[in-house]
């Protein structure tokens, strides 16, 4: 004891720093665990035989892992439809997103031209004020886009926030480059395609990533605009699976045979978790490697916004 106190007094500063660091490491590591554990639990439930899971919900790893939930889920077919729809949506929407964002951002980053301020205002106002869901729904309906992929693709065709970020990036490219190309007789289209875009690859990658994730995660517009069962995107398929199980269990709790019903619904749970895994799998696989691009993009936006 005496030795210890002596040690503290002689190396007070060092000890203090160590204790502080240790506490911080413990807190942030615990926090990270709190983020990871729910995911881990989802994985475990999805590969556990339901008998084993029912016995011990607080399970570290199943004794006999099984892919039965995944087989059941894929056998249902709705996940297949979900993947097909979501991939088609992404394939259609991503080029349109990039086209509208970069083109508009480039035009608005140009030197003065008549009406420039007005056009900038025209774009910015939509960030402050929007029609809300009912008028958009009616517009989609009156354009006869209901139950077509184009409804979802076009409704989120451009994104004002990404447009501003992209424009800021274009503005940072020295104007001399454009001017000299202009003197050499290049048209605006050539300057855009041959000079501006190749110089903007980092921001294009970032914007493409953001749009990709947005399209992958989109569920509200598809829920309203795609009413047919054979064209539900992944998020909606997942939502329906989660909701079914949810309503069934909360209905069962008030009923008399609650325990029986819950028991009967157990297999659904593994499938639900498998559906969650399959829905987030692409994001999960890709995110750790591309995280820095997301961060960069957010910071480019934040410096100006």
């Amino acid at each position: 004891m005496k030795n210890a106190t002596q040690n503290v007094s002689t190396r007070k500063k060092k000890r203090e720093i160590d204790l502080f660091t240790v506490i911080i490491y413990i807190i942030v590591t615990l926090g990270a665990l709190l983020i990871l554990i729910p995911f881990y639990n989802v994985v475990i439930v999805s590969i556990s035989p339901m008998v084993e899971y029912t016995r011990t919900p607080f399970l570290l790893f199943p004794q006999e892992p099984t892919l039965q939930s995944y087989i059941d889920l894929l056998g249902g077919g709705s996940i297949g439809i979900g993947y097909r729809t979501t991939l088609s949506l992404v394939a259609l929407a991503l080029p349109i997103n990039l086209f509208l964002i970069t083109l508009t951002a480039y035009a608005l980053s140009k030197d003065t031209f008549p009406g420039k301020k007005l056009f900038i205002l025209y774009v910015l106002i939509t960030m402050l004020f929007n029609g809300g869901i009912v008028p958009l729904y009616l517009v989609i309906k009156e354009l006869n886009l209901m139950n077509t992929l184009w409804s979802v693709v076009l409704a989120s065709g451009c994104n004002t926030f990404y447009l501003i970020i992209t424009r800021n990036y274009f503005l940072s490219i020295p104007a001399a480059l454009r001017e000299s190309a202009r003197i050499d007789g290049a048209s605006e289209f050539t300057i855009f395609l041959r000079i501006i875009l190749p110089l903007s690859l980092p921001i294009l990658a970032t914007i493409a990533l953001f749009c990709l994730v947005d399209r992958w995660n989109e569920w509200y517009n598809p829920m309203l605009f795609l009413r047919k069962n054979d064209m539900k995107p992944l998020q909606i398929v997942l939502r329906n699976i989660v909701m079914q199980a949810q309503i069934a269990t909360s209905g069962g709790q008030s009923g008399s045979g609650a325990a029986d019903l819950a028991q009967a619904l157990k297999p659904v749970k593994g499938m639900k978790m498998a559906a969650i895994i399959l829905t987030m799998l692409p994001v999960m696989c890709v995110y750790p490697f591309l995280q820095k691009y997301f961060v960069k993009g957010m910071l480019i936006g934040a410096i100006k916004a």
Binding site: I27, A107, P114, I133, Q291, L299
Partner: protein, 318 residues
């Protein structure tokens, strides 16, 4: 953004006046480049904005938005006589206020802590973990959270194995209210901390060196150097969040809630959704509320922008 265009000198009229039509003609390529975007904004932003006139009409599907008859303010009379509307409004304000009190400080604290991690590899790994949930949809996150908190889920498993009673988190409105904040922190605190971390990275390291020489501990440095340096960022973020008060988090509430707690967690957006697409589908009625909500939102953002300019010389749209 607006000031960026100000910086570019406009064509000085006294030097060489070029007639407007000549200037427009000379820039025809720019207008061609602009056209697709302008058309898109017109169809998918301005036409719906025009659709807001429904707030003063009685929508008839066969007559369309333009043909439906005007009814003056009668939709609003109807709104103000609906107690569910006031409940939703109050819930929205309460949830937003608690979000500011409880959720807002978390990313700041997280950034302060992560900023103290000196091993860059570990810091990056932690950052990846903390920011990841932000890139999942609320559909996925709600699924994950329901799994953890439901009656036979992980948390209850833990409670039971510690000798406690199983708690039905998802069907009690009090615990769901708490879960709104817990799950939102879980999902987005990490991502929100990035902006503070960037601000921390920008602090002059000489300040820390001087403080170390003066004998300040690392905790003191954190409180007296790092935190004050973050104040401008904090105030902008706070203002932004206040400007967003009318949105209490539709995606989250819509996906997390269930019939047992739906009513007590009803916010303006879920209320609008419900009366639009679930009950007797009254489009005019819900547009009336949408319009009101948009207007209040608009005023809040303008106010936020104004106070941000006063505080930091930076508008939110610079």
């Amino acid at each position: 953004m607006l000031s960026a265009s100000k910086r570019i000198p406009s064509v000085a009229p006294h030097r060489r006046p070029i007639p407007l039509h000549r200037r427009i003609l000379r820039n025809w390529e720019t207008y061609v480049l602009l056209l697709p975007g302008l058309v898109w904004y017109f169809i998918f932003c301005y036409m719906p904005m025009g659709g807001l006139t429904l707030a003063f009409k009685s929508y008839k599907a066969n007559l369309g938005i333009l043909g439906s008859p005007w009814v003056g303010l009668s939709n609003y009379e109807y709104v103000f006589n609906d107690p569910a509307f006031f409940q939703a409004l109050i819930n929205t304000l309460i949830i937003s206020a608690v979000r500011i009190l409880v959720e807002f400080p978390v990313p700041i604290i997280l950034a302060l802590l992560l900023g103290e991690i000196r091993r860059k590899g570990y810091q990056k790994a932690l950052q990846t973990i903390y920011t990841f949930p932000n890139f999942l949809s609320w559909v996925v996150v709600a699924g994950v959270m329901i799994n953890v908190f439901e009656s036979s889920g992980l948390v209850n498993g833990l409670i039971v194995s510690l000798g406690g009673e199983e708690v039905n988190f998802l069907s009690s409105s009090t615990s769901m209210f708490v879960l709104l904040f817990v799950t939102n922190i879980w999902k987005s605190a990490g991502w929100s901390s990035i902006i503070y971390l960037a601000a921390i990275a920008g602090i002059d390291s000489e300040q820390y060196e001087a403080a170390t020489i003066d004998g300040a501990s690392r905790f003191q440095q954190m409180i007296y150097i790092t935190l004050p340096s973050l104040l401008p960022t904090i105030s902008v973020m706070l203002i932004l969040q206040i400007g967003n008060m009318m949105n209490a988090g539709f995606d989250q509430i819509f996906n997390l809630s269930n019939p047992a707690v739906e009513e007590s967690l009803d916010v303006l957006d879920t209320y609008i959704y419900r009366i639009t697409f679930q009950a007797s589908a009254d489009f005019s009625f819900s547009t009336a509320i949408s319009l009101m909500k948009s207007l209040v939102n608009f005023l809040l953002v303008i106010l936020a922008n104004f106070s941000s300019k006063r505080l930091t010389d930076n508008g939110l749209f610079e």
